[in-house]
Symmetry: D3
Subunit: 257 residues, 6 copies
């Protein structure tokens, strides 16, 4: 096994031997485009995969519905349904905290709710937005809350049910204009085997149809890079698909590879 130091340890309350995956997403659609592959892989391996949407993205990411004259509540309902369908395709649970978006406000109450979720889920791995995005202030706000809540959940003195959290690694998924967000791929994840599921999940979001091909193309490009950075190329086909991530904390491992 590649990483013995983590073996069967990420498993509080989990009989399968693999810890849970927690995804903190600013808006209802973010987790699909940027982390759909990682979520589907985790679910296939039998890990619990939990997505938390801080907001529905009702103001900032629903332009078409607004133009069609939908009400705020209708838009929320619409996006909730789409996100639930997408999560279903990926094999993930999904929670909605219904904070406002544009702006998504950092608040102690929201952070506290995240702490409760951390303590309950006891994730072995956490995914969230990167800390910089000059095009969208909600994404860095989600990042800061996800990290702050993880730190607080580790403190025995913080009043919330459940055991203090361990130190799960945190990965940042890829933003829309990666270079402008100082996003440098540090981890290339092979999602070839689950890409069909990711594509289906994307197709649950019909208002953003132009994104389907955009993120399919991106997966191909990350797949090309994945092959170029893998030791030898055996095992990769021409249609290898990938997702890119950054790490907040150093990798802990029992083997350099």
């Amino acid at each position: 096994m590649n990483n013995p130091v983590e073996s069967d340890s990420n498993t509080p309350g989990d009989a399968s031997g693999a810890g849970a995956l927690l995804v903190v997403s600013a808006h209802a659609g973010d987790f699909v485009w940027r982390a759909g592959g990682a979520i589907a892989l985790a679910a296939e391996r039998g890990q619990r995969a939990k997505v938390v949407c801080l907001s529905y993205g009702e103001r900032g990411e629903s332009a078409r519905a607004w133009r069609q004259g939908a009400s705020l509540e209708e838009i929320k309902e619409l996006r909730r349904g789409e996100a639930e369908a997408a999560a279903g395709e990926l094999g993930a649970e999904i929670d909605f905290l219904d904070a406002d978006d544009y702006p998504l406000r950092e608040s102690e109450e929201l952070i506290d709710r995240l702490v409760h979720i951390y303590r309950d889920v006891q994730p072995a791995v956490v995914l969230t937005h990167p800390s910089i995005d000059p095009y969208n202030g909600d994404h860095p706000a989600a990042n800061r809350m996800a990290i702050q809540a993880r730190i607080l959940a580790q403190a025995i003195g913080y009043q919330a049910p459940g055991e203090p959290l361990g130190a799960p690694p945190v990965f940042f998924f890829e933003p829309h204009q990666s270079e402008q967000c100082d996003f440098k791929p540090q981890v290339l994840l092979d999602i070839t085997s689950v890409f069909a599921k990711k594509r289906k999940a994307m197709e649950c979001l019909p208002a953003q149809q132009h994104m389907w091909d955009y993120y399919t193309d991106l997966a191909k490009r990350r797949g090309v890079q994945l092959k170029r950075n893998a030791g030898p190329n055996l095992g990769f086909t021409t249609d290898t698909m990938g997702e890119a991530y950054m790490r907040l904390y150093p990798q802990v491992t029992g083997e350099l590879a």
Copy 2:
């Protein structure tokens, strides 16, 4: 298995299922202090581990012998013997290219010799110095030659025996004053199980006895960080020992962990 995309692929001419480890070291002692743990781990797993010392470190890192009046040839012989003994403790092969040190000169001839070694060893993993060191110009020179040779060995058009190289990951081991070299640990390697071997290897270098404790202390400190960054802390004892590395290229993986 943690990283299926690399499984049984790092194995050109290797029946064991695990590819070789290649370490490019500027001077005869560098590989012991900075990468002794990684080498011993690879050897224990049955991987071929090969150390290439570009120079003996005869001018820059043998102050005691110079003060005792030894000749250049005597110093080289001394350091060669010590390095061979240390490599033996770690389970590694060792080659000496006998370039001059202080300064270690970048040359096409030296790079070409490295290309031949890459083509012959077909390493699955490469370790070398980081690219910056304001205290020692030989270390960045070794870094540049190791990387240049890896790139050339990949080109089918480069005239050297053997198959073109794949794309083995490159790790930089930790320099002496890490922060001044922009060294930020990205990978913390658990070397607890082989630390006794690393200590023995260090003790093969009697002229630098003050380094034994210095690098033992460093291994403890990296061990503490390893525990702090590992998901849950199960499986670590209070004497966990670690080594820190940086990556030149993105990690390729089939699972986020």
Copy 3:
């Protein structure tokens, strides 16, 4: 025309074919020292130029008046008058939001007022402070509010009158101690033709007379660099004057130059 992709597009509600310039300034004097040339150039070209002063700088930048025993209201009035006179010299409109300074507090209310201004002015270009200033916390606060408001004004779902904003480029003007603020000039603007106006505007701020020469010298220095970075030097005289800017977003152009 250099940049056809933007031609006649920056002109919502503007018959002249050139969009408006919006300047978000933390204190009443900032826009004069740092962006006076850009403002005068825009006004001369017939663009609408609008300055928004978040505060009067009554606490942090009126040391002389405080020492003379003026009251808070008197200081505000004084600075308002000076800033209006300076804006007049440059050909700009000016608004005062009268937030407190030292500290300038980020608030939803202030950001919302900026969103209304963005929606009303529909700027083609935005100028504000850089994001880092270890000597003055108000400047980064103004930066964050200016950027956040720009993003919110783009969202159709954000409730404010007017059309959603396009994507006007944002330029950071030069801080007082530029290197300590990680300010690296990316754009050198030739303000030679309007420097006399900028000087007159500076002279509207008599309490900071030592700044007149300081910023005249800076304009000369940026002028020297402008000549050194311009293709050939034809067209520049020895008294070329310049202002330096950074970009938040990539430049969009139809021609490399």
Copy 4:
């Protein structure tokens, strides 16, 4: 005109009112994938466009031909022909300096030949590789030589025919794995009107057919970003195509836009 300070000044020995474009490329194909759009745009505007290929890329970028058993001279001839055809499609002149590749060696002789070209062409704009590329040592070597030669060509004391060079801006075109090369797009160039020519030029390089779609996809992605960063979106269609560049020196301009 957007940038009056440069108007009719980039024109030493050029009657058209527009200076020449000089592209310094490490290998014979680089200029096509990365700068084909900029070259075609310049040619369409009537500017002289000159490509200098330091090498043919015979060792590092002709894997297919090597596998088919071609000789070194045959490969050079093949690549020369392809590059000439591609340059023809784009409307550019092309020179080959026939330095070796893999590695491309920095030499005084090669830099001196570049100085002569700078003095002769008197470029108004220079394009070359970025300074960092962990996958290809030839690209940074070309970068260093292109910049060094530009500096030397400016010195009246450097012995080469022609007038000393002015200070043409230098743009870095996009490398293959941009984020790993610290490449952050600072300029997004609209190449929609000439993309068909770029595609034709790419198709002159049949050995790298997989690159045709790769760089078409990249042009689409840069086009999407171009629209997202342009003031208002008017004037862009859904098939806007783009190329990304970085600047080595600050932009000099008469107008912020």
Copy 5:
């Protein structure tokens, strides 16, 4: 004297000719581990040394007490006593602002209290946490408040008793995992002569006994670096002990050394 420009000027209300040292610490123990040597040195020289603990660290840094079932008030009392004892060993005054920790909330009220302290103490030197810490959100919060308060205290218009502050240099002390906090030692302080006091102060914190050796080892390592970076090595013994710091502002001096 090394730095004549600061001679007898750091002394508002201080007859000794040496200004005061102010340490802003997020939790009750931070100042001991990270700045104990600097504090003891200042006290020995006859400077006033004042420590301000924003919180007791009752939630985030008292795991053992929580596990033993202590109440919140008991824990605060315990940590207060320990910190007072440690400050006593170092020769420093200590104030507790009793803000909550985990999270330590930035607030105007807390910043205002710091401004009053700055105005009262008129420090010649300020020490606080660095601005980045991915493991602990309270440390950057303390940093931001310490810097903001310093800036406000300089403004004559800010309403608080006492004279406006000068411009005391600010040093960041070393975080627990320095490289992950972008901490690069810029100043190595020789604390050999007072290390025994620092050790005694550390021993006032019995709940964190594992830290005693950890920070003793760190002091040794910084001592080794101190010797390696000092002009000649005369005057240093093998047990030189050090502390590392970063500067927020440039050093002002009358002599390069």
Copy 6:
């Protein structure tokens, strides 16, 4: 004394108690504009100050003489005389290594000559160019040779007369376009008391008369910053003059100030 750890230790072969200052300058004039103040201060304190000019700057920095038709030898002679006169005003010795400029070539022979100088002068402080300059390749070349020679001079095994060097701090003086060279002032040196000498030294270089005022203005600006960053402002007059420096290695000190 501010820094007891260095007291009377920088004095190999020097009876005065203060070590020597060594300045490594690419061209004959560089040391005057950028480090004239530091040199004059050292000389006034009785330190030996030694300037080494690697080249005369005959090709790259003598445009006027070339235009007047002077020969290479005449230009060298002219610049040598001017530089000697300037060094005389500052109180420094000066050596000329007469390497070519534009380009200044890094060579083992030149580095070896620098090693001999280091061993002979045994400098307590070293000044040289920064490592980055996109406008002038000779400056980074001088930087690399100055640092490499310092490292080699420390090695007992390097064959050159004299004792191995200690570890003198290295300061980078300010380049012409500081921000484009990633130059961030870390040390502001008060040169008020010797500015008249620096001005006289500048006036020894009549061909660059426009630089006299440019560098006088820069000294004023650095003086303003010096006052703004000094603890309290006592002791500074309105005409404080400064020079800015960066450090390559961490500062070693016995007191934070």
